[in-house]
């Protein structure tokens, strides 16, 4: 997984550095933290089997937290730490209610929470600036690096992505990761074995919201702007689309999905006049014809390629 993340970043960096201007570098930066965002949602969708329609709430809350604090004289790193703390608290509080139910009800209740967050951002004008959002955010310096330079900020976000990939890999391999998957597949059996199904789901929900908050904080510092649109249903759907297009069963599916969806939304405007309709059509296509997502296809192709290039060592086939 780490190797894949590295390859991902090499490709992304190659695209960015070979490009004529900062636009591609900004795009590559967004690829990095949207990767974090999509992976955080996949903890819920893929690992815990809970499809959330309100994940953008945590992304947005953290973005607003960083924006408000930094524009009120608080140091950038303290602001990020505060955003993570807020994400944890809000994640635990809303998760405690939301994970009491599964399936459609879970989707609806997470949607409701995201709408509350969106409504607060939209209406609480004194704090959030309403529809105008908050502007004038600056990136804090990191030791000798000036993160205001796009190339430096890109490297920072890329390292952040690697860190998150590493942590999530450890989580997956841990006892908690195993029990999250077990609760997805066999909730009754886990309950009969004495596990607290609700607490395990809550743990997954909280972890997912913390990493979404991290991505939101990075987004705020990248865009230097935050508005209620970050928490809209449209954005919640977009990140869900990343996870589904990439493939929920695969560990690197969300990263693939982030590339596909962001590239699509960013560049499709040049080829089709209606990008949102195109996104909708893409969603319908994936649901109808590639229910497993893109990643399993790629994985199979990659394994075949590996086979043809190297002789498989004993047991190497079982690695994936």
């Amino acid at each position: 997984m780490i190797r894949f993340a590295l390859a991902y970043l090499v490709v992304v960096a190659g695209v960015a550095l070979g490009a004529p201007n900062d636009f591609y570098l900004s795009f590559a930066t967004r690829l990095a933290y949207y990767g974090v965002y999509a992976m955080s949602l996949n903890i819920l969708v893929g690992e815990a089997g809970l499809m959330s329609l309100g994940h953008s709430a945590f992304f947005g809350i953290a973005a607003y937290c960083v924006a408000w604090l930094t524009t009120h004289g608080v140091d950038g790193w303290t602001a990020i730490a505060a955003a993570l703390a807020l994400g944890t608290v809000v994640g635990m509080a809303t998760g405690a209610v939301a994970v009491r139910v599964v399936g459609t009800s879970f989707m609806m209740i997470t949607l409701a929470f995201a709408q509350i967050a969106w409504g607060l951002a939209y209406r609480w004008v004194d704090v959030t600036g309403g529809d105008n959002g908050i502007t004038g955010i600056t990136r804090p310096p990191l030791m000798a690096f000036d993160l205001e330079k796009q190339s430096h900020y890109f490297v920072f976000c890329a390292l952040a992505l690697l860190g998150v990939v590493f942590i999530l890999d450890r989580l997956r391999a841990s006892a908690l990761g195993a029990s999250i998957r077990a609760v997805r597949d066999q909730p009754r059996r886990m309950s009969a074995l004495g596990y607290n199904v609700w607490a395990i789901r809550l743990a997954a929900f909280t972890v997912a919201s913390v990493f979404a908050s991290f991505a939101g904080a990075l987004d705020c510092l990248q865009q230097k702007f935050v508005s209620p649109a970050t928490m809209s249903l449209l954005d919640a759907t977009m990140v869900l689309l990343m996870v589904v297009i990439g493939g929920t069963s695969s560990r690197f599916g969300p990263l693939v999905g982030a590339i596909v969806v962001l590239t699509f939304t960013e560049f499709s405007g040049q080829f089709v006049s209606r990008p949102r309709a195109a996104l909708g059509a893409l969603l319908l296509f994936v649901v109808l014809f590639m229910p497993g997502g893109i990643a399993p296809w790629l994985e199979r192709g990659f394994v075949a390629l590996k086979r043809s290039l190297w002789r498989p060592r004993a047991g190497a086939g079982a690695a994936q």
């Binding site: 499809m51 939301a98 399936g103 009800s105 509350i116 909708g280 319908l284 229910p291």
Partner: protein
């Protein structure tokens, strides 16, 4: 003042009931949470405004709006939803995909400006009662909504089609085993639900006007109603529609900054205490 808000709440509640009754029918029978329901409402609003502007009589404009939404819904059910029956996540994503396509399609046809039509002449006057001014159109909307609720009740409780629908809600497998065609039932239900959403949109158009983004403005309200009332329960949706209509009209006046909290917090509380909704049956 209070009476004006009351009427506003009742009108909005009536519109919400028309919208959510369709959602409830679809969810109750097909178990599909139709997130394109707001889009069908928007299609109804635009078609209704277009018809009114072309000088079509009001009643016909409502039927045209409902019909357009019904045709769209039926095609979508037959072409897409049927292929992914039983896969809840895929259905949710497919309906979101449809919502995006419809939203952008409407933008392409009618452009980005709000699209307005006047209420029919006969309903443009207003009258005074209890010291408050009542616009006649709002009263008419309320009457139409209540009449539709009564018709829907008659259809479901007193006709052969209704008996099939109720059978489908109670035990779909058994219904199919008795020889009732499930594909026809599903397409019919989806068309009927879409029809109701379309009529609600056309009725709402003279009040809120048709504009891009109407779909995702109205959808959360419909979801709140459905969850408060209990997924698939028409009686629950009827009661919850007026509660939410009231919260939607009065909330922004009382607590402008917390309008959305006022709207969504009751739903979160209900979900926490009684996940199946106030009048809903426990999930199967």
């Amino acid at each position: 003042m209070a009476i004006t808000y009351l009427l506003g709440s009742l009108t909005y509640g009536g519109l919400l009931f028309l919208l959510t009754s369709g959602f409830c029918l679809i969810f109750g029978i097909m178990r599909v949470p139709n997130l394109a329901h707001g889009s069908l409402f928007m299609v109804g609003a635009y078609v209704g405004v277009a018809a009114l502007r072309a000088g079509v009589p009001f009643a016909l404009a409502l039927l045209a709006a409902g019909g357009a939404a019904a045709i769209l819904g039926a095609i979508f059910e037959a072409a897409v939803l049927r292929r992914i029956a039983g896969d809840e996540n895929a259905q949710v994503l497919a309906t979101i995909g449809l919502a995006f396509v419809v939203g952008d399609g409407i933008l392409a046809v009618w452009g980005g400006n709000p699209y307005r039509a006047q209420a029919p002449h006969a309903l443009q006057l207003s009258f005074r009662m209890f010291g408050a001014v009542f616009p006649a159109y709002r009263v008419a909307v309320l009457v139409i909504a209540v009449l539709s609720a009564a018709l829907l009740w008659l259809l479901i409780e007193r006709t052969r089609i209704g008996a099939r629908l109720r059978a489908g809600v109670d035990d779909l497998q058994m219904t199919r085993a008795l020889g009732i065609s499930a594909p026809a039932l599903f397409t019919g239900v989806f068309a009927l639900g879409s029809f109701l959403a379309g009529v609600a949109g056309a009725l709402a158009a003279p009040i809120v006007s048709a504009y891009p983004g109407l779909d995702f403005d109205i959808l959360p309200l419909a979801l709140v109603v459905v969850i408060l009332g209990g997924m698939g329960s028409l009686a629950g949706a009827f009661a919850a529609s007026f509660v939410v209509g009231g919260l939607y009209i009065v909330g922004p006046v009382m607590l402008p900054e917390l309008a959305y909290v006022v709207l969504f917090l009751p739903m979160a509380i209900v979900m926490a205490i009684r996940p199946q909704g106030i009048l809903g049956r426990s999930a199967p």
